[in-house]
Assembly symmetry: D2
Homo-oligomer: 338 residues x 4
């Protein structure tokens, strides 16, 4: 067995800790080498748990000879600088979504990556969910014929904290961005028009941030396929994540599974379990999958399974959705990125 690729994780919040654990324990070919967080205590805790070194700065982590690759899991505003620095150090990069909230910044990052010729993979983990992937594979294999419609429901179990919301970029860039990626992934076709309607229904106070927590988005793809997306920040019955593709020869769908298979049937009907509650339960296989793909791309020198361009387009669509919701009209993608 070859030596594992040693990954340094920048940012040890919820998602960074998850990646640290998976890298160390679940993904053959990768290991956790070092961590850094501006919250030193948080970084230390993760380092201790997983026996990884704790860097005193992101720069130190990136420069460390013991770090072969960098996982950027810090807040969105820091992503581009860290990508640029990692690229300059010639190290492959995994970066959480969104790449940035600014297209110009994204372009700066992608230019640096291109110049350095390093691997950049964006954290659109849902592409690696077994059910969602089956939908895409069925489309790609022609199992459902010509594609006509895609329908995505993506509803979180609970809203994030106010502090997170304030830097999140808003629902369309923080949450729907996964669905924009999924729409492209499933259809294999780019999006030309976005129509979005949103509202602050879960927590009216998010309106103060100019944000929404409930939304419906319609996408028109280049090849005429129509996608509908609906989002909510709070589905009390669990993490509701569904993707379906409808075509001339059938339907491919990724449905939710209950938390367990217990059912009670009485004269009043049946009652059964709710959905698994959180992304740590629901999407673990997809997180493992994205790291396996990262390891494979490094090992085999193949292109990124979720490239920088794959990270850029959903940002365009998110910005289009924001404008659409604001202006009450469909917005063409080329209005945002001509």
């Amino acid at each position: 067995m070859e030596t594992p690729v040693r990954v340094g994780v920048i940012g040890t919040g919820r998602i960074g800790r998850l990646h640290a654990e998976l890298l160390e324990r679940r993904v053959p070919g990768l290991s956790l080498a070092a961590v850094f967080d501006t919250d030193a205590a948080a970084a230390q805790a993760v380092g201790t748990t997983y026996r990884a070194s704790v860097a005193s700065s992101a720069e130190e982590l990136i420069a460390s000879p013991g770090v072969d690759a960098v996982a950027v899991c810090s807040s969105a505003a820091t992503h581009v600088d860290l990508i640029v620095a990692s690229a300059a150090a010639g190290k492959p990069i995994f970066c959480e979504k969104p790449l940035s909230l600014s297209l110009a910044e994204v372009d700066r990052a992608l230019a640096a990556v291109a110049a350095a010729g390093v691997l950049l993979q964006i954290g659109f983990n849902r592409r690696f969910d077994p059910g969602h992937k089956l939908v895409r594979d069925a489309v790609a294999a022609g199992d459902i014929g010509d594609l006509h419609l895609v329908r995505i429901s993506s509803r979180d179990p609970d809203p994030p904290t106010r502090a997170y919301l304030e830097v999140s970029g808003g629902l369309f860039l923080d949450t729907t961005i996964h669905d924009f990626d999924m729409a492209r992934f499933v259809t294999g076709s780019d999006v030309v028009e976005v129509f979005a309607r949103g509202a602050a229904r879960v927590d009216p106070s998010v309106a103060e941030l100019g944000d929404v927590d409930t939304a419906v988005v319609t996408l028109v793809h280049e090849d005429g396929v129509l996608t509908t997306i609906d989002n909510s920040r709070r589905a009390v019955y669990g993490y509701d994540q569904r993707v379906e593709a409808f075509g001339s020869a059938g339907l491919a769908t990724s449905e939710n599974l209950p938390a367990h298979g217990g059912v009670v049937r009485t004269v009043d009907g049946a009652r059964s379990a709710r959905l698994p509650y959180f992304f740590l339960e629901r999407y673990i296989p997809s997180y493992v999958g994205e790291w396996e793909a990262f390891a494979a791309a490094l090992r085999e020198g193949t292109p990124s399974p979720v490239s920088g361009a794959d990270g850029r387009v959903p940002l365009v669509l998110g910005l289009a959705a924001q404008r659409s919701a604001r202006e009450g009209r469909p917005v063409r993608a080329d209005e945002i990125a001509p």
Copy 2:
């Protein structure tokens, strides 16, 4: 047991024949008295099968003392005149959707009904489907809290004939009209804005009729609820009819059932039955239900369970959807019916 109400059925095409059978055989309190169709042979066949008299004209049927109530099942263009005539004869009326393709005509019909003080029930049978009804009842009972989102998929197994398409009024008035009604029924809230995108994907030649066979519609309701609808004229895997309502306290959904419960599990996975193929299989309980409601309203003198106004609003929304698709912008309902 009281004497059943004797119903005369005008129009013995597919839906008229179905109503004839249900009236005669499945709905206590109602019976089939007479039929009429411009295709005399078709009418005669139905009359023979169900031992009903065959009228030589719609007028004769309406005037017949043996006919207590009139079921209007002929093509959409004839509905208003038949309603007006039936109202003038003082007879309760059941009318298939759509009431008409013209708002002015609808208003003429409703005025006649109001003047005569007769019962008018519109054939939005899906309100009586047990699964769909459960969704609405859960919303009305507050079981899912404040309503945020409604999602409707309504996909027919096969397109109608070209001849039918030519007089159908197009997808939005012929098919989506059921979903507009369902959106109002489930939410209990009127619709203020419609955004529609459609395409001729199943059969590109419907574009010659200015029609589409695949569509996505977003509705904004008065109370802020957002509804998405998707339609197709052909779902090869069966009749796909789903309604869901999402709220602060949960989800109520009406899912498809397979044609039967057989499953084969092998090392390659499971295979199971497709969906029931046609509306005659899928929606029979709802057709029986609407007739039971009709009989109950007559017996008890209660208001129509699906009133003329309930028939008019979906037409407004269908016209708004047509305009939206044509002009590429959201259309307010009050642009159509100020």
Copy 3:
């Protein structure tokens, strides 16, 4: 279209009325010609509803030149005489299960049928249930490899009346008999040993009749396959009817479907509909199917799809089950019918 075969129905209790309706309305190629019941008013009501003539005796019905085939739907004790009479009249026969509660009587009936060379089909309708049939077809096609285990749950929604119970022959001959047939149908292998345990749990008073209402039966088939059956006279959550076959290459199973597809999901889990409540709802397609098979066998001159021998063997197994439960030991089929 050829002239339909005119069927006379003897016995217009619950099952006879069902057959009368299906013959008249649902099965192309068959029609209802006449009915008879010792309860003349019951017979008259069915005759009136379906416009069939009402015979004044079973003999008259059997002899009538307007009756091409006879459906024996009267109580079990009358079956053999009616079969013998119908055979003597040279008329094809459909007979409800059980053929008789006496093997000697069954043999008398089968001898008469053989002598007359008429078609005899036993009413094991479940063979024609689409889900159950899929299980058998999967086995027969080798889709699940070598068969190892069969598992049948067959639970009625409600016990019959005391009067019915008194002449029913007991649970094993009245209810389990369907499952004995199903075990043979699915496996295609005869049964060599029966072990049964039963109890009066639903209604302790059936113990006074020497009967049980709850049972578990194990069958050893000639080819080594093991079948388990469980029965109850009352499943309050609906009519629970499941069959599964397990083999070296997989599992084929016929599962219950809920009454409708409505589901409500909340923080407490999901609630959904109960099972359809009665055999009139659950098994209609199988009753239609058995009549279609009867019509086809007559039309094409093919052997009975459920022959007299198929009716005899389950009686042997039912008697073996009775003895097994009584004596507390496995009983070989050849102890009953050497």
Copy 4:
């Protein structure tokens, strides 16, 4: 947070490694302190992975002051001696099933545990499976009324190695033993009679060992409830684990879930995922659950959630099943353990 209880694991085969991982990583309040295996390399590998010390003998591990509790995960023949030694050392014990293949030996172990007054928990992990637990809880809460029938299907995805089979005690003691425990757990009633039929169908060569790999067992409980169990060593479609309880007021059932929620629907029907393949996937939550219960019992001084007696009875039933299969008759539990 209090200091975790340090557990030493004896036996680092498949199940021992699983427990080591869970103890170290998944169960708050417990940690992995030491491991031992007669295969020193295997023990060393586990020790290295989880940073636990590696003992040079079971005795050393048991005696170690750094070991607060002992997990006995070695082969069945060693269990009793290790329990006796651990009890003598005053240490709480977790022991995998079966306790032993000999009742006399079990009694020696239980006597030692009783004398020492230490906690002994048997590894019947399935009691802690969320779905199975729901079945038991529904019964205990009276949600399904008086219990009438229990039905258990327990089918492994693949047979163990021949070497394992030779020391396993046979299907009834190795596999069905879990189901005997489940039957007691769900019903809360002891078993008075066992009837078993088995065959070597998956691999005819197990007959050389006097073993079977396919079986059906009927249990009569003290309170009259009837349980059926079916087993197979190979279910190619995945790990098939179902438990259901049927009573006067309903049904509680623990059904299998597919590996993921992807479904493809075409004109030919639906295809979906197979079941999760192995116990490491299927039963992880139950293994975590049993350790949480162990920790809680230690912390709170409460009785063992799965006591030594709970370990002994299934052995009696397994021996009764062996005798029943051999002698072709139902065997009373008190024939084995008067």
